[in-house]
């Protein structure tokens, strides 16, 4: 086990657009306390892309919803999330709504459910613009068509008058992105925004998001279960398991030739992706079991019950996330050597 160079792993710099520090989210469910997010810290700079990766229930979505102020009342949120230095955690709904209009926006997985099926898409975008800005109806209309063009919707003028059901899944997601961009946010959070889409459409939407990021200088956080997406499109990667960050590094450091994945959970996620290079009918390397019940986490490392390298110390004491190499943090007593590639 190597000694950490420094701890905590995230050192703030002046350029960070969003700084999340020791974020914790807990809620009660059936009389039990569930710590959905348990001490998460990261930062995103303007113009950069952060991928937050994890399985269902890892806390990746809950953490971002806490920052957006989109969790139900009664949820306990502590820690800090500063956007350009101003604190978001603990703000009132009205204060947060102002941020959501101008600084923060989010795109969700299912565009069909996020759009109003009875309203023409043009009216929905116009409404989004007029909620946040004082503009005339015709001015908002012009901006809405402009936004549809910005997200590369062909024949924007005509699409403006259509209903959501007349659009394909990919086009609907473009409309959702247009609405999210209505007030030129500094940070866009895309929560599994391409998961429901075909692989060719997914590639189109990811390219669009990265192009828009360059054009508008936004920071982008995308939440996904797909490490392949993170490798292809992110600058920085955060891997979450059972409410905690277990590995954090630049994408270039983790993936590709000479990639150095250290956390065995990250390795397992990477190995489980079907690769075209693998021969048909070969057994995929798998870890058994499933993520722990968040209401009764195992002692020590949460991943120990599923980890092929778990030893007694893993079950006894939880490894802290610490920066062991420049920009690369992991939380493991027995990390992979040589990236752990099989």
């Amino acid at each position: 086990m190597s000694q950490p160079i420094s701890t905590p792993p995230v050192t703030s710099t002046d350029s960070a657009l969003l700084e999340v520090e020791d974020l914790r989210v807990a809620f009660a469910s059936g009389g039990r306390e569930i710590r959905a997010v348990d001490g998460v810290s990261y930062q995103v700079d303007a113009g950069r892309t952060l991928a937050i990766i994890g399985e269902s229930g890892s806390g990746k979505t809950v953490g971002c919803r806490a920052i957006m102020g989109l969790l139900p009342a009664g949820t306990e949120i502590s820690g800090s999330a500063r956007l350009r230095g101003s604190e978001l955690i603990g703000l009132s709904d009205a204060q947060l709504r102002r941020h959501r209009g101008s600084d923060l926006a989010m795109v969700f997985q299912d565009p069909a459910r996020s759009l109003n099926p009875t309203m023409r898409i043009g009216s929905q975008i116009t409404e989004a613009i007029r909620t946040h800005r004082k503009v005339s109806k015709s001015g908002a209309r012009e901006q809405a068509v402009e936004l549809l063009r910005l997200v590369r919707i062909p024949a924007a003028e005509r699409r403006f008058h259509e209903y959501p059901h007349q659009l394909s899944g990919g086009m609907r997601q473009r409309v959702m992105i247009a609405m999210a961009l209505a007030c030129r946010p500094r940070l866009l959070i895309a929560d599994e925004a391409t998961t429901a889409l075909d692989v060719t459409t997914q590639a189109q939407i990811m390219e669009l998001l990265l192009e828009l990021q360059q054009e508008l200088g936004m920071a982008l956080i995308f939440i996904s279960h797909d490490l392949g997406l993170a490798a292809s499109y992110a600058d920085e990667v955060v891997v979450m398991y059972a409410g905690k960050i277990v590995e954090q590094a630049p994408a270039k450091r983790l993936f590709g030739a000479g990639g150095t994945v250290r956390m065995r959970y990250t390795r397992a996620l990477l190995d489980a992706i079907p690769h075209l290079e693998r021969d048909a009918h070969t057994e995929l390397p798998v870890v058994s079991g499933r993520p722990p019940d968040p209401a009764s986490l195992p002692s020590g490392c949460s991943f120990a019950p599923r980890c092929p390298a778990a030893a007694d110390d893993c079950r006894a004491k939880e490894p802290a996330l610490a920066e062991h190499a420049q920009g690369h943090a992991w939380a493991c007593w027995h990390p992979c050597e040589n990236g752990g590639a099989a």
Binding site: E55, S56, S168, G169, G170, M171, D198, V199, T200, T201, Q202, A203, Q204, M206, E207, L210, H225, D226, L227, G228, L229, A231, S232, Y233, A251, K252, F255, G256, A257, G259, A268, L269, L270, D271, A272, I273, P274, H275, L276, R278, D279, A280, H281, T282, E283, L284, P285, V286, V287, S288, R290
Partner: protein, 356 residues
């Protein structure tokens, strides 16, 4: 392929009889406009032919709306295809009715995408798995109980823990295992999987894929494995068919389709897969646009409106499947083996010349 040559449309084998043989399957649906007026006809499947040999897995890959799920249902006769033939274990399914169809289908089971949608929420796991056994009158209730325990074991669920649970007490991966246990209860020879692992987290997905692989070996199962993820399909399949707007555009051995794709659409699908090489997926330009409406598909080659190689001929002539490598067929006037056509569509493309 789209138009079957008389004998062996999907390969060169003729030593054994295929388990399943589909010929010229066509499925169409009438779209109604407001008030019930006939709005048009969706050509969901337009003349698809393929064989599946015993113990073989045929993977079908395609985007939403390519007709791959409709094709699976046409094979199952649910609903019956508009025209074409489906011969399964020597029986022509399209001519069977009622109980004859039910008993012929006993050897053909299916697993759909949403496990919860296909499991009755009020039933316990053991009743769900025993249901096909009871429906076909297999064994006594005592022997069925034993068989259910074996089946749950087979799919990696401890009968003591899971037999009495209800679907809501299962995770997605566990529910999909129950659906698989039910599907293999009657020891079918063909399992049709339509996006069967698409809704699962990647680690659970790998577990279920390994389970399919084990069942293939242990029960000598054949699969018709349908998914939109080409890498996933290739992992489980002996042969892969690529479907676009109701037609097969390429069929071949999985390795050969991936290493030497012949159809520009297959190339585009391969380029769209996120890679674990940083930045690799961004090197290739993504496929532009979206599939056109199946109500009014393009003339000639249906992919031509998005194809970087499209020429005049592609609009006027439907490309017929041609075998360019052993067992590897492509329906394209300008397959990727030859140079791209000159924009004037000069007829001197070697690959195109060979056929005509």
């Amino acid at each position: 392929m789209t138009q079957a040559s008389a004998d062996s449309p999907t390969g060169t084998r003729d030593d054994k009889d295929p388990l399943l043989s589909a010929r010229d399957l066509v499925q169409e649906f009438v779209v109604r406009e407001a008030g019930g007026a006939r709005g048009g006809i969706v050509q969901a499947v337009s003349g698809v032919s393929f064989d599946i040999m015993p113990g073989e897995t045929l993977g079908i890959v395609g985007e939403t709306g390519s007709g791959k799920s409709t094709l699976a249902r046409a094979v199952l006769q649910a609903p019956r295809p508009k025209s074409g033939s489906v011969v399964f274990r020597g029986q022509e399914l399209t001519r069977l009715r009622g109980s004859a169809l039910v008993s012929a289908r006993r050897n053909m089971q299916f697993v759909w995408q949403d496990p919860f949608g296909s499991l009755d929420p009020k039933w316990q796991v053991r009743s769900i798995v025993a249901e096909p056994l009871a429906a076909h009158g297999v064994g006594s209730s005592g022997s069925r109980r034993k068989r259910v325990e074996e089946l749950l074991d087979l799919v990696g669920l401890d009968p003591a823990r899971y037999a009495r649970r209800h679907p809501r007490e299962l995770s997605g991966g566990q529910a999909q295992r129950v659906a698989i246990a039910r599907a293999v209860a009657l020891e079918p020879s063909l399992l049709i999987c339509d996006e069967a692992v698409s809704s699962l987290d990647v680690l659970i997905q790998a577990q279920v894929l390994n389970l399919f692989e084990r069942l293939r070996r242990e029960l000598n199962l054949s699969y018709l494995f349908i998914a939109h993820d080409l890498a996933l399909v290739k992992q489980v399949s002996d042969r892969v068919a690529v479907m676009y707007l109701g037609k097969f555009c390429e069929v071949g051995p999985g390795e050969s389709v991936y290493k030497q794709p012949l159809h520009p659409y297959t190339r585009a699908l391969l380029d769209s897969i996120p890679s674990t090489e940083p930045g690799a997926a961004r090197a290739a330009a993504p496929l532009l646009g979206e599939p056109p409406s199946p109500v009014n598909p393009p003339s000639g080659c249906r992919f031509r409106t998005r194809c970087p190689r499209a020429a005049d001929k592609c609009a006027s002539e439907v490309p017929q499947p041609r075998e360019l490598a052993p067992g590897h067929l492509v329906a394209c006037h300008f397959p990727l083996t030859g140079p791209a056509p000159a924009q004037s569509a000069s007829p001197t493309v070697p690959a195109a010349k060979a056929e005509r």
